[in-house]
């Protein structure tokens, strides 16, 4: 693990060993529940979570990347560590997810600043090392760009659905992708969130600490805001409709199209016997083979693997996407027609 200075721990508190940090600073968790001065920090920690739950980034006491007040540093780290304790005590996974994402966004800002810092080479190097150590992305500085191997880039970029992240929309040269500091950091946002999330999930849940109860209860009621209900229209997405049309006309639907149609209908709960007749107009129809393949996809024969419906992105590559405005930026045909209602109470 990296050796971090005080201000770096404040910027990237998830890199610190929480227990060790408290010990080094000479505190125990119980003290935060009982000591009136320290108790404010629980309030601060709660606030840090509440802001995150609202989808905003917690406004830190750190001013830029230097610190105005030496007392602010440990406070900043404590509020992060206490927030984790509160989240563990409340057991609310939706809040942990939102908190991790917001903290990732916060750290992202610092990483970006550190990467772009041309006056302090050590800051630059630290950011590059954090990215390499945590996410195995080998960043190299080249003039004003950060360049990373294409294979490295792809491992992360495939998680994005915006077209600008597609490799084709990137500056590619000599096996490397050229990125700005902002893009470099943005590339690992999801993994940073996942990293923080897994650190929290894997942290030990302490027994309830006197003085923490109120904040924990507040978190439990806060999390109720985020229950979502899903309503489905039941209509098929255009890609599936198109595939059915092709088959009805007796034209040839490529293997990839058949795979999409079958996995889609299986996921919607249709039984194999009901799906098989759809293929009977195909030029090469063979009932025995069709049933075998459908059972294979459903996982009822063969290896037992249940195959899932390909993503919109994959269908685009295969020329099977016929998106309409009704698709509404879904990322998998199975989401078509689903309306999310946030039950804000």
């Amino acid at each position: 693990m990296l050796a971090l200075g005080q201000d770096e721990i404040a910027k990237y508190p998830f890199l610190a060993d929480a227990g060790q940090y408290l010990k080094d600073q000479g505190f125990s968790l119980e003290q935060f529940g009982s000591d009136p001065d320290l108790k404010q920090l629980i309030e601060k920690a709660y606030e840090r979570i509440r802001v995150a739950a609202d989808g905003k980034i917690y406004k830190s006491d750190l001013d830029g990347d230097h610190v105005s007040n030496s007392a602010a540093l440990p406070r900043e780290v404590f509020s992060f560590l206490l927030a984790i304790v509160l989240l563990k005590l409340s057991g609310m996974h939706t809040l942990i997810k939102r908190f991790s994402l917001a903290e990732a966004r916060r750290a992202e800002k610092y990483l970006e600043k550190d990467l772009a810092n041309i006056s302090d080479e050590s800051k630059n190097q630290l950011a590059i090392r954090v990215i390499d150590d945590l996410f195995s992305v080998q960043v190299e500085k080249l003039d004003n760009y950060f360049v990373i191997p294409v294979s490295n880039y792809l491992k992360h970029s495939i998680n994005f659905h915006e077209r600008e992240w597609k490799l084709i929309n990137r500056h590619v040269e000599d096996g490397k992708v050229y990125l700005s500091p902002h893009e470099t950091v943005r590339l690992i946002r999801k993994e940073l969130g996942t990293y923080i999330n897994s650190k929290i999930i894997n942290a030990r849940t302490p027994a309830m600490i006197p003085g923490f109860e109120d904040s924990v209860n507040k978190l439990v009621s806060l999390s109720k805001k985020f229950v979502t209900y899903t309503v489905t229209t039941g209509e098929y997405p255009p890609c599936v409709k198109h595939a059915i049309e092709i088959l009805e006309k007796g034209e040839n639907l490529p293997h990839s199209g058949r795979f999409m149609l079958a996995t889609f209908l299986l996921s919607k709960g249709q039984p194999v016997q009901q799906i098989a007749p759809l293929f009977k107009n195909a030029p090469d129809y063979n009932e025995r083979v069709t049933l075998y393949q459908l059972n294979h996809l459903a996982g009822t024969s063969g290896s037992g693997t249940h195959y899932s419906c390909p993503s919109c992105e994959k269908l685009k590559t295969q020329n099977l996407c016929y998106a309409t405005s009704e698709c509404d930026n879904i990322i998998n045909p199975l989401q078509f027609g689903r309306k999310k209602n946030n039950a804000r109470r």
């Binding site: 191997p149 294409v150 294979s151 792809l154 491992k155 970029s157 495939i158 077209r163 600008e164 597609k166 490799l167 084709i168 929309n169 990137r170 500056h171 590619v172 040269e173 000599d174 096996g175 490397k176 007796g250 293997h255 990839s256 030029p283 090469d284 129809y285 290896s303 693997t305 992105e313 994959k314 685009k316 590559t317 295969q318």
Partner: protein, 373 residues
């Protein structure tokens, strides 16, 4: 296919394998790969592990397969079921097939075989005899198809070398034995990437999914300076060469592009993908568990051999990939299209008994356009 035809094909293939074992070698890291084969009129046998050339040759002689395959992937346990194999990495493979190139010549050398009544006609959408629409298409690939496929191979190599820093030595080109080429890339940074990443690579190579901003066109705040220049690397450079043509026209064309607007520019990009994007089959590249025809083995769609092309420009598959014997055989042929093999022209044959060399007989029987008389 009737038994006597299968027997004939098996004998011809067996003779080839006996006489050309030097052509059929196991690929590197043999014991980590999965092998498979098919016999005539039978399903696929796969999940086979093979140690060396000797074992491979034994498998061939024991089974006389119609087709032999080998994985591009490396596994810890290649002979176990798919989810227990423990996938390690896979060579990057591209498939360029003449049938995907939308060539105008295809119409002239494609025949339709009716699945219901076996009637053979020149390319049609409905059987002229029984009106069935269940037709099997067979193409007798022409020189134009091969040349167009070669062009795609060259375009692909250029992108691989210039954009992805792959060395020329690590790119091997094979004639597939039927209508196209397989391009293998060894020891690249892409060995360990998965299926979704490979799919992104194929989009890049085929210039698919690009947005106007990438080539300098913006919705608001238009800026002439952000359009590509001739000396730029990658697709921006290729865009400049294709769209501007010459340096002197650059300025004038940028003005036109700006006047036509953003959505028209998107259309330009889609057309560009069609004209200069490399036409590879994305499904082949992104399948990391596939088994590919083994180099040196015969393709049962044609009777031609899958062989490596060392000089692509000069390569003529209809001379160099035809290894079957010249011994003549009598067949009943219904092949309405003329074709050329080993510098000899055959057909058209309309429901007639003809005597032809084995290599030509095999070609027609494989295409279901003839049977042993």
């Amino acid at each position: 296919m009737q038994d006597v035809d299968i027997k004939f094909l098996e004998n011809s293939f067996k003779k080839y394998y006996f006489e050309h074992f030097d052509q059929i070698k196991v690929p590197g890291r043999t014991s980590e790969r999965e092998f498979g084969y098919q016999k005539f009129n039978s399903g696929m046998t796969r999940h086979i592990a093979i140690k060396d050339n000797k074992e491979l040759h034994l498998m061939i002689i024991q089974n006389i397969p119609s087709d032999i395959y080998c994985s591009n992937a490396y596994y810890t346990f290649p002979n176990l079921p798919m989810n227990e194999k423990d996938w390690k990495e896979a060579d990057l493979i591209f498939d360029i097939d003449a049938k995907d190139l939308n060539l105008s010549c295809r119409e002239n050398h494609t025949v339709s075989i009716c699945n219901e009544c076996n009637e053979v006609t020149k390319n049609t959408s409905q059987c002229s005899k029984c009106n069935s629409t269940k037709l099997e298409k067979k193409s007798l690939t022409c020189k134009n198809c091969i040349n167009a496929s070669k062009t795609e191979v060259s375009k692909l190599s250029e992108v691989l070398i210039d954009d992805f820093a792959i060395t020329k030595d690590n790119i091997h080109v094979y004639f597939s034995g039927n209508e196209g080429f397989h391009v293998y890339v060894y020891d690249s940074q892409f060995q360990e990437i998965g299926s979704r990443e490979r799919s992104e690579l194929t989009d890049y190579i085929s210039l698919r999914g690009s947005i106007p901003e990438t080539f300098g066109m913006k919705k608001l705040k238009q800026d002439r300076a952000s359009f590509p220049d001739f000396d730029e690397k990658g697709w921006r450079g290729r865009f400049a060469k294709q769209i501007f043509g010459s340096k002197s026209k650059r300025s004038k064309i940028i003005t036109e592009l700006l006047t036509n607007g953003y959505s028209s520019f998107q259309k330009t990009l889609d057309d560009l993908s069609e004209s200069i994007g490399v036409k590879i089959d994305p499904n082949v590249t992104m399948d990391i568990h596939r088994i590919f025809r083994l180099p040196g083995s015969i393709n049962s769609k044609s009777g031609l051999t899958k062989i490596q092309c060392n000089d692509l420009t000069k390569f003529d598959p209809y001379i160099e990939a035809s290894f079957l014997s010249d011994d003549t055989v009598e067949i009943f042929a219904n092949c309405p299209i003329e074709f050329k093999l080993k510098n000899k022209t055959f057909g058209p044959y309309i429901n007639e008994i003809v005597t032809v060399p084995t290599f030509a007989a095999v070609y027609m029987i494989c295409k279901k356009l003839a049977r042993i008389a």
